[in-house]
């Protein structure tokens, strides 16, 4: 078995920037809460770094959301759209 080239690996999309702004958190605040450097939050938001499972779970837990609401292998739509669709399904 061979691993795909790093450039060929699927991107990991996330809603970090939206969630962070929504909660009025700076990169520094979020970084301190999840135990990373504030530059790493920037790398994550720009999709230039894929978090480990532990970090992804820690971030999701910090926002009180399931991990798939924050990170996804598919492009993430607006949060309001996701919530509305969920509401309609119920």
């Amino acid at each position: 078995m061979t691993r795909a080239l790093r450039e060929e690996e699927p991107p990991v999309y996330n809603r970090l920037a939206v969630l962070r702004t929504e909660r009025g958190l700076s990169r520094q605040d979020l970084a301190e809460a999840v135990g990373v450097h504030y530059q790493t939050i920037g790398y994550l938001e720009r999709g230039e770094y894929k978090p480990s499972l532990v970090l992804a779970l820690r971030i999701a837990a910090h926002f009180g959301l399931p991990v798939e609401a924050v990170f996804s292998l598919q492009p993430l739509g607006p949060m309001s759209e996701a919530l509305y669709t969920q509401g309609v399904k119920r």
Binding site: V36, H37, Q39, T40, G42, Y43, E48, P51, L55
Partner: protein, 170 residues
């Protein structure tokens, strides 16, 4: 089991000791002027030039005052490189986050290949040059000194240089 616990305790003590210095490297904004990519690359090129000039001078002339000045320059540029990349290449792995560890691992792999390749090449050239049947040029003390300092500076600076050269933001 006892020995393992002692080793872990020692490691913990060492990390606790390094923590204040690590916090300085990771948070200190005094060196932000050095951190834009262009400036980091300029620093890498300057450091490489200083290391090369120092070794070349030692090779050609042997120890002189100028080579001592360049040696001090080499240590200063090492220190600046460390600040420019927030000590990413040198701090204990427990004190930097997972992204920094990943960057460090990647650059150490490259640095190891470059350094060991360079060292093997230098050894081969010196061995061939010293071979009486071929060139019959025995290296003298200042030649070995020059090689020693070139390898020494490369070993301590190369990982930070690679991080400084490649990372879009530090």
């Amino acid at each position: 089991m006892m020995a393992m616990n002692e080793t872990q305790d020692l490691r913990r003590q060492m990390i606790d000791k390094a923590r204040p210095q690590a916090d300085k490297y990771l948070r200190d904004a005094r060196y932000d002027w050095l951190r834009p990519l262009g400036r980091r690359r300029a620093l890498v090129m300057t450091s490489a030039a200083i290391i090369a000039a120092h070794s070349l001078l030692l090779w050609v002339q042997g120890p002189r005052l100028v080579s001592l000045v360049l040696m001090v320059g080499g240590f200063v540029s090492y220190s600046l490189l460390k600040w420019a990349v927030r000590g990413m290449a040198d701090l204990p792995e427990e004190l930097i986050d997972e992204r920094m560890n990943a960057v460090r691992d990647r650059q150490y792999r490259v640095a190891y290949t470059l350094l060991s390749g360079g060292m093997a090449t230098i050894l081969l050239v010196m061995w061939m040059a010293a071979d009486a049947a071929r060139v019959a040029w025995p290296p003298q003390a200042h030649h070995l000194e020059s090689v020693f300092w070139a390898l020494m500076f490369s070993a301590i600076c190369l990982p930070s240089m690679l991080v400084a050269w490649t990372e879009p933001e530090v």
